[in-house]
């Protein structure tokens, strides 16, 4: 009967969205490294720990402050609830129960409550004995007044800070990474300490006339000497003792430098990751940015334009040289392989990126990156560079929206130059936006001055603009000549005087930047004006 009730409860929890949501919220609050909530919570906890520790220290020598007990109680309640919630998050009891139940059902064996309960119990026990949980528990203990001795655990409250501060966490991680080296070093040190302690005790014990009274003194002297601190409260008097001291000092210098080098290399190894993490967190704070894969010449050129328009972007490049160049140019850059899912995800392909550019000089990479990006995000805009004609089809297949061929365009322009040097100059002028002359589009807004107006009634010449054409998908224009299909719309080249503009039509204009901007402003304003 009890078993049935438990299983029922487990299924109820599994289906309850409220339970799931609560758990998710708590997860975001305590554990989810990506959530903003956790960041605020961590800050709050750091403050709480600091305040409580200061209060406890203050009270050691001073009379208690009013409300301090009250405050301490709140702190302990917060700590305890945090401890319990983390324990709750650590494993899903109902899942263990259900899994077990379903397995027994499937195999047709009798369901026994004992096994899953043992499993649940052991997983919670695992939590209790995890290092962080122990620290948490020890941090709660000092407020247990009857046991004043527990005050010593106050220190553990400070250890709790490790949990909330990323940089401290990183330091412990670095140390953990070098476990093996540090262990070797510790064994080496232990070995020498043992030898030197016994040796100094033998040479310098009190009956002989030395200052070393017992083995603890010997160990104390050995460590003080080995660490090159050398207080000098115990000094060797006999030649034998001095030889031990000399040896120990030399070994101590070696050990110290070895220790330093371990820590330094561990940090340099971690440095790359650190920088990357910083880039990731910076990327997280921006929206509508663009991922540029490949910071070669093309990537640099694109980045330059984006800088000018203050369009945020992030660069992924695998080569050290390009990465450093990007850094020097103050760009957000990640040195990694852009074809890896993880790298693109970290770069934010699903978190605010609006386009991915594959600009490497290698078509194989471009295809691979395009494929990966499309796989990760179905709707993102992907623009890829194709260096060879035959790869265009492949790039289309793997999901590139636009494909640009640098060699084709250049070839085209070079060929143009042979036949028509002057015309090609004009083309160069337009695409390079020389002398501020550029081609630009203007959308006809609803209710604006130019809606339902004939082309001839808009004096483009007076506005110092050339109308190249109109892009539209309105069927009303369908009968006009000079139609060219552009994607799923029509481009009407050189529209006739009687062409009547509709809302949402797009004018394609050529002119100086400021005349275009001015015209745009005027139209926008007219559409906003109340009529």
């Amino acid at each position: 009967m009890f078993t049935r009730l438990l299983i029922h409860l487990a299924y109820f929890l599994k289906s309850s969205s409220r339970y799931q949501n609560t758990k998710k919220f708590v997860f975001d609050l305590l554990e989810n490294p990506g959530s903003r909530l956790k960041r605020h919570f961590d800050l709050f906890m750091i403050l709480l720990v600091m305040m409580s520790v200061f209060l406890l220290i203050y009270e050691i020598n001073n009379p208690p402050i009013p409300y301090s007990e009250w405050f301490e109680n709140i702190v302990v309640v917060v700590f305890i609830s945090e401890y319990i919630l983390r324990g709750w998050l650590y494993s899903d009891n109902h899942k263990i129960l259900i899994e077990h139940y379903e397995r027994t059902q499937y195999l047709g064996i009798k369901f026994q409550l004992r096994k899953p309960l043992v499993k649940i119990f052991s997983s919670k026990l695992k939590y209790i004995f995890s290092p962080y949980a122990i620290i948490d528990l020890l941090a709660i203990l000092p407020s247990y007044r009857p046991l004043r001795i527990l005050r010593i655990f106050l220190v553990f409250r400070l250890f709790k800070l490790v949990r909330y501060s990323h940089s401290v966490k990183l330091f412990t991680e670095v140390l953990a990474n070098k476990r093996f080296e540090l262990l070797t070093l510790a064994m080496f040190i232990g070995f020498w300490l043992f030898i030197s302690s016994t040796a100094i005790y033998m040479f310098e014990n009190e009956p002989v006339g030395g200052q070393v009274r017992h083995l603890f003194d010997a160990l104390y002297w050995s460590i003080v000497t080995m660490s090159t601190v050398g207080y000098g409260d115990i000094t060797p008097q006999t030649p034998g003792g001095r030889i031990v001291a000399l040896t120990l000092i030399i070994i101590g210098v070696g050990v110290l430098s070895f220790f330093t080098s371990i820590i330094v290399t561990a940090f340099t190894e971690k440095m790359e990751e650190l920088r990357e993490n910083r880039t990731f967190s910076e990327v997280e704070n921006i929206d509508n940015f663009i991922i540029i894969c490949g910071y070669g010449r093309v990537g640099q050129e694109v980045a330059k334009h984006m800088d000018k328009d203050q369009q945020p972007y992030v660069i992924i490049d695998n080569s050290e040289e390009n990465f450093l160049l990007a850094r020097r140019n103050n760009c957000l850059a990640i040195k990694n392989d852009a074809s890896k899912n993880e790298v693109l995800l970290n770069a934010g392909i699903n978190k605010g990126a609006k386009a991915v550019l594959c600009t490497t000089g290698n078509d194989v990479t471009n295809v691979y990156v395009t494929l990966t990006s499309r796989h990760l995000n179905r709707d993102i805009k992907i623009i890829s560079r194709a260096n060879r004609q035959e790869n265009i089809k492949k790039l289309r297949q793997v999901g590139a929206n636009f494909i640009v061929q640098p060699f084709e365009i250049s070839g085209l322009l070079a060929a143009e130059y042979v036949g028509q040097p002057v015309a090609s100059q004009a083309i160069f002028g337009i695409i390079n936006e020389e002398k501020d002359i550029l081609m630009e589009t203007i959308l006809v807004p609803e209710n604006s001055d130019i809606e339902n107006v004939k082309i001839k009634d808009i004096d483009f010449e007076k506005r110092r603009l050339i109308l190249i054409g109109v892009i539209s998908n309105k069927t009303i224009h369908c009968k006009r000549n000079n139609r060219y299909k552009v994607k799923n719309r029509q481009f009407y080249f050189n529209p006739a005087d009687e062409f009547i503009l509709q809302a949402k039509d797009i004018l394609v204009l050529l002119g100086r930047k400021y005349s275009i901007d001015y015209f745009k402003d005027q139209i926008e304003r007219s559409s906003l004006a109340i009529k």
């Binding site: 328009d309 250049s410 002057v422 004009a426 050339i466 190249i468």
Partner: protein
């Protein structure tokens, strides 16, 4: 259009694209490279090829520089090679049209000093194009259709011959868009020098023989207009 003798130094994907765009019936094209393998591929495609070392002036003369070659393309991948070729060729022929590609933007000025007439930076163009696709894909499309001539639309230059009916008229009187379905983009007005002026209504130009009109439009109408201009000359 007169027949032009074109020498392309360096065979790579870009020169391949260039040759594809050149009208082979109109021009005599030879491909020059040191690398035998790439030349074999080029020869397989039916191009005229010459294997020679460009660093030697005698070899360049053999190719025809200083004699019948009108246009030289320096399409080596290394800027230094292009620069060397430009200097050698310019020394041999002052009138030669030299077009060079450039890899490092810093080299562009050096190449111009060395005597190149036109510099093409493929990466810069590609970068611009990519950025345009992000910022305003419509424009990228229209540019593809119009000035890159992907479709029927083309840019063309039209020289006004002596005694043309257009002489002594003003650019504003041409009414190209209603009469010929062409758009006048720019003019080279000989009176004002060789510079290109975009016809964005800043000043009116009186047309004379020798002026050049840059027009945009369907190729058939460009041809018609050209005939019109030259017919009564």
């Amino acid at each position: 259009m007169s027949v032009k003798n074109i020498a392309i130094f360096g065979y790579n994907p870009m020169s391949f694209e260039l040759i594809k765009c050149l009208d082979l019936k109109q021009h005599e094209v030879i491909v020059v490279d040191q690398d035998q393998e790439s030349l074999i591929t080029a020869a397989d495609l039916g191009f005229t090829v010459i294997a020679t070392d460009y660093r030697n002036d005698d070899n360049l003369e053999e190719v025809g520089i200083g004699r019948h070659i009108d246009v030289l393309f320096c399409f080596f991948e290394e800027d230094s090679n292009n620069l060397f070729l430009t200097i050698s060729a310019r020394a041999m022929d002052q009138k030669l049209e030299i077009i060079s590609i450039v890899d490092d933007p810093e080299s562009a000025d050096k190449l111009l000093v060395a005597g190149a007439n036109k510099i093409i930076d493929p990466y810069q163009i590609c970068g611009r194009k990519i950025y345009q696709l992000i910022k305003n894909p419509d424009i990228a499309d229209v540019l593809d259709h119009t000035i890159f001539g992907r479709h029927d639309l083309n840019t063309a230059e039209i020289l006004i011959p002596p005694d043309s009916p257009l002489e002594n008229t003003y650019a504003s009187q041409l009414q190209l868009n209603s009469r010929y379905n062409l758009i006048l983009i720019a003019i080279v007005d000989k009176e004002l020098g060789k510079e290109l002026h975009f016809t964005i209504g800043e000043q009116d130009h009186r047309l004379d023989a020798g002026d050049i009109l840059i027009v945009l439009g369907p190729s058939r109408q460009i041809k018609a207009f050209k005939q019109e201009v030259e017919k009564q000359a």
